[in-house]
């Protein structure tokens, strides 16, 4: 009888999670296990994610692959799962708990530094830049933001960071409004960095509606159709891209290995790459950026 593995994303509406889903589906096919894909829809609904985990514990799946919305709030349900003999693999964002089997994620701090480096280069080492943070209490984006700030402080002293304290909120909609207001406030701006897909998409839209797209140097994080179009059009100067497909794949693969009693690494890095207009057409990038999701999902 095949293993049943629950894969719980932070949300279901971002394209990032679609890729994770596809990667997980690929692994499921490869190792002949059944995956159950379910998560909250808003990326700040901790309560609902807790309930989803609890329900899967009730359902006695064999393993849970979880992208925790909060590094603390999800500790307890994970502990309950582990105590009931369910293996847990954490992906994407950290969790302040022991007992889970492995942590499969991007090195977010490095990703943040990579973004800062790219932004520093395209800005020529000087000018005014701002950081629009994502949402309160999200561990992975906080690391990216930290990496960005550290790199800027160490290597690009000529760049003045005019705003680093505003949050975009969990949806594109809230990010868009916030970005619009920030862009109006700082009319002479040279660079922008956003730490995830929804904040980046909101910011891109704000730049477009403000007529500043392409004029302000802009580096984002994560990929999606919207953001890639921006990159192609020259409205963005770089995207730090994780490999969500690989993350989903490795998450499920690790879970299977744990279930089979194999030894797995505590920390598995899925890597980040910088995508620019120049390299986005190379075959390996195309494979990374637009994996054939439907091939894995439509069955």
């Amino acid at each position: 009888k095949p293993y049943r593995i629950a894969v719980i994303p932070k949300g279901t509406t971002h394209e990032f999670w679609k890729s994770i889903h596809a990667g997980a589906a690929k692994a499921a096919k490869e190792f002949d296990v059944e995956i159950i894909w379910q998560g909250p829809q808003k990326e700040d609904d901790r309560e609902l994610q807790i309930q989803v985990v609890q329900s899967f514990v009730s359902r006695r799946v064999d393993a849970i692959v979880l992208a925790p919305l909060d590094e603390v709030a999800l500790v307890r349900p994970v502990r309950e799962a582990v105590r009931r003999g369910i293996k847990v693999v954490v992906i994407d964002s950290g969790l302040k708990a022991k007992g889970f089997s492995s942590f499969v994620a991007t090195d977010n701090y490095q990703g943040g530094r990579m973004g800062a480096k790219r932004l520093g280069e395209v800005m020529g080492g000087q000018g005014k830049a701002l950081l629009l943070r994502y949402s309160e209490g999200s561990a992975s984006t906080m690391k990216r933001e930290q990496g960005f700030l550290d790199e800027m402080a160490e290597n690009y002293p000529g760049i003045e960071l005019v705003s680093t304290n505003r949050y975009a909120g969990a949806t594109r909609e809230s990010a868009f409004k916030e970005a619009q207001n920030l862009l109006t406030k700082f009319s002479s701006l040279d660079g922008v960095f956003c730490p995830n897909e929804s904040s980046a998409a909101g910011m891109l839209r704000a730049l477009q509606t403000a007529g500043k797209a392409g004029k302000v140097k802009y580096v984002g994080f994560d990929s999606s159709e919207t953001l890639l179009n921006g990159l192609k059009a020259g409205e963005m100067d770089g995207l730090v891209v994780q490999n969500p497909f690989l993350m989903g794949y490795l998450g499920v693969k690790t879970a299977v290995e744990v279930l089979q009693g194999k030894k797995v690494k505590r920390r598995i890095d899925t890597g980040v790459v910088l995508v620019t207009r120049e390299n986005m057409a190379t075959p390996e990038m195309v494979e990374l950026l637009t994996p054939d999701l439907d091939k894995w999902l439509k069955q």
Binding site: Q54, E80, E136
Partner: protein, 335 residues
């Protein structure tokens, strides 16, 4: 008809609904087979459902009072967030590495008190200014949320380990049938208190009287203003307890928690037979309403139906619960 029988029948509507929903999902999971077949009916899952229903249940107890008295309270979700933040703040400020029992209880009490103050404000303003409670509580909803963010400095507040964390553990001692989350006991205790209060105290009778016909209440010498302030304050305190449970669930103080939960709670009360025009409703009914929602959520996850089905089903259930009730009333009047 025998009066207690009559009451039992009237209350039975939502209960029948609960049984129906439960059997439906039991059937669905059985039909689906596989692992989920026994999982849904398992003892552990029942405990999970009950634990998940705790917050809405306790919140619904408070709003039941308000709704029976002909009012409404939209600020409940924000109040719950406020409570989690106040508790977490207290634990972080005064706890070292782990917070002791005394501190934990003190923090919980403070959280409950904060909500009580919100309720008091709601009551005083709606009683004195005679503004529709919808607006008052829409305002306090924003204010409580803002204060919560303020205290939390727009972050989640991480706290030292506290005994409160254990309140919502689904099964504190595994494989002991009677071992359930302490939160369930708290909820059960509060249910008993509210049921008894509504049924056996002067205050409870006044709540019904005010909602049923305010003019009559006034004619009978009831100080409607004062009672109303009391009712909102009590609702606030109960909401505070729900906030403690929410904190136990999240283990962090989260100023963005429970957005829109007021509507869930109001829906539970309405499904349980409460009428927004006042004078009708029962604490037990509201509890059953909360359970219906919890079973629905849990069952949908078990069967693996997508979220959207769940949304639609809940919407349909809300409307039909009230429509059926209305048709029943009409039939009674005609007969």
């Amino acid at each position: 008809m025998n009066p207690s029988l009559r009451k039992a029948l009237a209350a039975s509507g939502p209960f029948v609904g609960l049984v129906f929903v439960y059997i439906l999902f039991a059937g669905l999971t059985a039909w689906q087979g596989g692992d989920s077949r026994d999982a849904f009916l398992s003892l552990y899952n029942s405990k999970t459902i009950l634990t998940q229903a705790v917050i809405v249940t306790i919140g619904a107890l408070g709003i039941t009072l308000v709704i029976i008295a002909g009012g409404i309270d939209l600020s409940v979700g924000s109040q719950i967030a406020l409570a989690t933040v106040v508790i977490a703040w207290c634990l972080r400020e005064y706890g070292g590495d782990t917070a002791g029992i005394g501190l934990s209880l003190g923090a919980a009490a403070l959280g409950i008190l904060a909500c009580g103050v919100c309720g008091l404000l709601n009551g005083v303003m709606s009683a004195l200014f005679r503004i529709v409670p919808f607006i008052i509580t829409l305002g306090t909803m924003q204010i409580a949320r803002g204060v919560a963010k303020w205290i939390a400095e727009e972050q989640t507040i991480v706290t030292p380990e506290s005994m409160l964390f254990n309140v919502m553990v689904v099964e504190p001692q595994p494989d002991v049938a009677t071992s359930v989350a302490p939160g369930i006991w708290v909820a059960a205790g509060l249910i008993v208190v509210v049921v008894l209060t509504l049924r056996y105290t002067v205050f409870g009778r006044y709540v019904f009287a005010i909602g049923s016909n305010e003019a009559t209440a006034r004619l009978c010498g009831i100080n409607v203003t004062l009672q109303r302030i009391w009712i909102y304050t009590l609702c606030g305190l109960l909401t505070g307890v729900a906030g403690v449970m929410q904190f136990a669930n999240l283990t962090v103080g989260d100023p963005t928690a429970a957005v829109g939960m007021e509507l869930d709670i109001i829906a539970a009360v309405v499904i349980g037979g409460g009428s927004l025009s006042g004078g009708e409703g029962s604490a037990l009914g509201s509890v059953v309403g909360a359970l219906i929602m919890a079973v629905l959520r849990n069952g949908c996850t078990m069967v693996g139906v997508p979220n959207f089905v769940q949304d639609i089903v809940i919407g349909v259930i809300i409307i039909s619960a009230v429509a059926v009730d209305r048709l029943k009333h009409r039939a009674t009047v005609a007969g």
